[in-house]
Symmetry: C2
Subunit: 364 residues, 2 copies
């Protein structure tokens, strides 16, 4: 029966109640109300309690606009991401930018970049600490080397959020990522379902030493095992995110495994594998699942040569990371320790929905 939002029991103020209303109701000054609401020193606990109770019963909601206006608490957030691979990281930056836009100029985002994942992130981190910032968004390539940085930040009350990858066992506020185990598991489930007759599958990755990549393999295997299909894991290949190595290894693998029924490329390095398969004339008999989405991959999906690609949604990851950080800096609201983004299953039939999110070569 209720047709509008319910508020606090008795109070249904037409004009939002402010700090002055509380002051008037208790016949005290606004200064005192402010001190009470913010647990500032130098206030009688009794008074404080009365104010809090009155605020509650009146349904007081602070006017954020006014708060920012006065305090000029220009939050500064520093975002450190690699330049390579541009297509992915640029989308992530876009997601952060978009999410921050509505809060400008209260929220100031500074982007800093370093060449590749894990290369040069430490000096940037230290620079940000020196120059002063309220929060950081980083993608730790090598968590161990960042541990002491994160500790230092925590001691100075600078919040750190990880995106895409995580730095476990550190004081980072949270980590936003497409949970790699799940991503691997989805690939495994798709291939199991796609190949009800069973068969051997190859798994391509970057480095099994990387936590993220290893997790995908675990998820993939878990999925295969729990499926009713007779698919099973065949060769596991590390291509070290290098196209040439990927091509060479894929070629060798295909020649040595004539019975292969499917391939899962769990990193963005899928093109060389596809090219090798095409050159060997094996596409017809291979079901292939890849990772992420970039312009060169589009036609392979459209043609059905790639059965599905698992898109890790960088835009969404960026948005969630920024929102979590902003929220924390604003109210101190702690996000859950991990924020998992559900990967999108991109296939021929829904490909079009994703094309406009693809970063386009701007200018030139």
């Amino acid at each position: 029966m209720k047709t509008t939002d319910s508020r606090h029991p008795g109070a249904q103020p037409l004009r939002p109640v402010g700090i002055k209303d509380i002051a008037k109701a208790l016949d005290i000054s606004t200064g005192t109300v402010d001190r009470a609401l913010h647990a500032k020193p130098g206030i009688n606990p009794m008074t404080r309690a009365r104010v809090l109770r009155m605020a509650e019963s009146l349904g007081y909601r602070p006017n954020l606009a006014a708060r920012y206006l006065k305090s000029r608490k220009h939050l500064r957030i520093s975002v450190h991401l690699p330049l390579e691979i541009a297509l992915f990281w640029d989308s992530l930056r876009d997601g952060i930018r978009d999410a921050a836009a509505p809060f400008a100029p209260t929220l100031q985002v500074e982007f800093r970049s370093y060449p590749r994942l894990g290369e040069g992130d430490v000096p940037l981190f230290e620079q940000a600490l020196r120059e002063g910032t309220n929060g950081l968004i980083i993608a730790p390539g090598n968590p161990a080397t960042l541990r002491s940085c994160i500790r230092k930040a925590a001691r100075r009350d600078i919040a750190v959020i990880c995106v895409v990858t995580d730095a476990p066992d550190t004081e980072r506020l949270t980590a936003v990522s497409a949970d790699p185990f799940t991503v691997g598991a989805v690939a495994g489930e798709l291939l199991s379902r796609y190949l009800p007759a069973g068969g051997r599958l190859a798994f391509f990755t970057g480095w099994l030493g990387t936590e993220d990549h290893a997790e995908k393999l675990r998820g993939f295997e878990a999925s295969l095992k729990s499926s009713r299909s007779a698919v099973r894991l065949g060769p596991v290949v590390e291509a070290h995110d290098d196209p040439r190595e990927g091509y060479r290894r894929a070629l060798k693998l295909l020649k040595a495994n004539r019975d292969l029924k499917g391939i899962y490329v769990s990193t963005v390095n899928s093109l060389p594998v596809l090219q090798a398969a095409e050159q060997e004339g094996r596409l017809q008999n291979l079901t292939i699942v890849t990772t992420d989405l970039f312009p060169e991959l589009v036609e392979w999906v459209r043609a059905g040569k790639v059965a599905a690609t698992l898109y890790q949604r960088p835009l969404t990851q960026g948005r969630l990371a920024l929102q979590a950080l902003h929220q924390y800096l604003l109210d101190g609201t702690c996000p859950p320790p991990r924020i998992a983004v559900a990967p999108h299953v991109v296939m021929r039939s829904n490909l079009n929905l994703f094309l406009d999110r693809l970063p386009v070569d701007s200018e030139v």
Copy 2:
């Protein structure tokens, strides 16, 4: 090489430049600057031009906090959605609420409800027009009956956004939805891939007269036709969103079609179909794709009895609708004529990621 955001060419103000800086630079008053910036009547075009040029060159950015604070331009948005089916619409409301929260109290959202899609939305719409509002978010069950309302709103400069369903050929600002053709097409592609050996598929829907439902069927068929698999469309069933009717029809269908290999239930009314299939002992030989996600469906997915369910992401739809409307009311930024949400493919392996988004029975 750039490591930070680029700004306006020459100007790199440490302290953001405000309206006063412009006034001072031109030795005029802030009032005049304001009139110039907002193209208000009663200002010398020459002065206006000078102000605009100066604002540009100084890199003026309005302080939104201050603007809202003063103008108290409390945007009021009215959201009209059905009560049934609560699980879906409540999620949508949550998405809207969450997206609006950061802008409180500048942005005020009022929720109004009516019993079922298309039943009672017109009087609510008219009430909102009478009481005055800046924008509306609605789910038109029967577009024809709303046409004149939407026209009236447009004439009064009240923006209207459709969610989930659309009211085509009206002045609505945009429509946010999981593009039904694509949803159907994804179901078709999944079933084609899942059943490489081919076979006949049944399609369950609500009313083929509903644009949304008919589109899903078209997408489904298109996908089947363009696939290499030998699957083909069998019986098409309208169950009118009624559980009993769904059950009865499913039972009859299963008995009459022993060769059926797969089923796509394109509305949320999937439970009766599943129960019928289970009772008939046909689950083992049926690949089933359903729609949306609700508590009762979870165990069917987890057990693998439902191969996949296409989640239309009400939370996201709500967020996008609210953001588009807010943006428009703020800057006049027009959204694209249609905003399509990519449906999520929920399967056993990624089910867990979606469980915490499910509306939970609060209190009782």
